[in-house]
Amino acid sequence: MHDEEGLVRLAKKGDSDAFAQLVRLHEKRVYTLALRMAGNPSDAEEVAQEAFLAAWRGLPAFRMDSSFSTWVYRLTSNACIDFLRREKKRAADVPLCGDGWDFTLPDDAPGPYEAAERRELRETIRRGMEALPPEQRQILALREFQDLSYEEIGAVLELEQGTVKSRIARARLRLREILTAEGNLFPVQSSKKT
């Protein structure tokens, strides 16, 4: 049984079994990031597979300066950006269906009314995220959905923490503008305020 570093060293030499173990270790996080950015399961699977294959091809060159996890995140993030740009070119006017966003609530979900509120809120956020430019969607997905720290995001995107901080702020501001422009910035919140 190898630890992750051992698996990476084996995979760097072309050991496909070691690579398979690495895929299983990271598939959920990679797939989730792809799903949050790409917007639907089939695209997310394509992007996640693309990211892992890029890792496979690039492993001999991987210098292990960062963790494998950070590196794979970077590959996934880049694959997502490429995908979103391709999609933008291919179907500029066709909105993503968004059927892949999981609105399933955890077991401790509140009652039906609160669950409906939360579902509505998430749908609002989903639409707003899809309207963001790819780079802003990327950094918000890493922060809000993957819950990475500024430091971790900086490592993934190879940015200074100060830059991460300011880009997140701009992305949040842009998301707020989008939701406001749509006239539906958090109807749930609004109802609570009254």
Partner: protein, 295 residues
């Protein structure tokens, strides 16, 4: 309020508990007197709350198996072909000769012998430079894997001695051993210092060898090193303008000075081919040429 812009970042950072005590106090003081920033904080807090608790998703059943199968179908990761171009015609000719010799002899093993192979390489120099079609005709042959030219500026070094230590320095962390080839410490190879080969190549790699020998004229003095990407035109995440392109558009040449390097490294990393785009290599690659195998 004119000053509000500077508080946006603080408001955002406050959601992430990333404020110092002084920043917190400054923000609180501002919020106490600024209704629009209070509204912003309220909205961003609502957004943050709405993003919470989505959790991780499981990929579709069999995802890992499909990825692994696709990787296995590709075979072991391809290595990167690496050249540097020197202004010295002799050194360039020597590299050309080595490439052709490797192709003609049908095996890298023929190149890892003693210094006695050098005359044969010399004999091929003229042919290499005068007959590109010859190289092209051989491109389907095998056995030149990753070749990294020595930083040595003269033909003697290219053809001559070996130093394992310099190989590591020139190629970053890679060594022949890393590539699965037994280290031949102390032996001499025709590749000389810093040159090594690894996994068996395929036609694509040899085609790139050919490409490396048929470069368009690149602007002197305007590039420190150049990445060559073969294959289909990639989706560049940023606007990086090639300094030159092959006539058949099969390759583009990118200046990779300090300002572009990080960008290009990202691109190549995403495509799985950034092995030599590192400081250790680049620092010695003045006026050099780096060829990266795209896929």
């Amino acid at each position: 309020m004119p000053d509000c812009e500077k508080y946006v970042e603080l408001i955002s950072a406050s959601l992430d508990d990333a404020l110092t005590g002084a920043q917190r106090a400054e923000l609180d003081a501002h919020l106490a007197s600024c209704p629009s920033c209070r509204a912003l904080l309220e909205d961003l807090t609502a957004i943050r709350d709405g993003c919470a608790g989505w959790g991780e998703e499981s990929p579709p059943e069999g995802f890992a198996d499909r990825v692994t199968a696709a990787a296995a179908a590709e075979g072991a990761p391809k290595r990167v072909l690496f050249f540097r171009r020197y202004r010295s015609l002799l050194a360039t000719a020597a590299v050309a000769a080595l490439v052709l010799l490797a192709v003609r002899t049908g095996g890298f093993s023929a190149l890892t012998g003693a210094r006695s192979g050098a005359p044969a390489a010399d004999a091929d120099v003229t042919a290499a430079l005068s007959d590109e079609s010859d190289a092209s005709a051989q491109s389907g042959d095998e056995d030149l894997g990753v070749a990294q030219e020595a930083p040595a500026p003269d033909a003697n070094t290219v053809m001559g001695t070996t130093s394992g230590g310099e190989e590591r320095a020139a190629g970053g962390e890679k060594t022949a051993e890393d590539d699965g080839i037994p280290a031949e410490s102390g032996s001499e190879t025709m590749f000389g210092t810093g040159l090594y080969a690894s996994a068996p190549p395929d036609m694509q790699e040899n085609a790139l060898c050919e490409k490396a020998l048929t470069l368009p004229d690149l602007p002197e003095g305007e590039w420190a090193w150049v990445l060559v990407l073969t294959g289909s035109e990639p989706e560049w995440p940023v606007d990086v303008t090639p300094v030159a392109a092959a006539e058949d558009s099969s390759a583009q040449y990118f200046s990779a000075d300090a300002s572009d390097r990080a960008v290009l490294e990202d691109v190549f990393a995403a495509r799985g081919c950034a092995p030599y785009a590192d400081e250790k290599t680049v620092s010695g690659a003045e006026k050099g040429l780096i060829c990266l195998l795209a896929e």
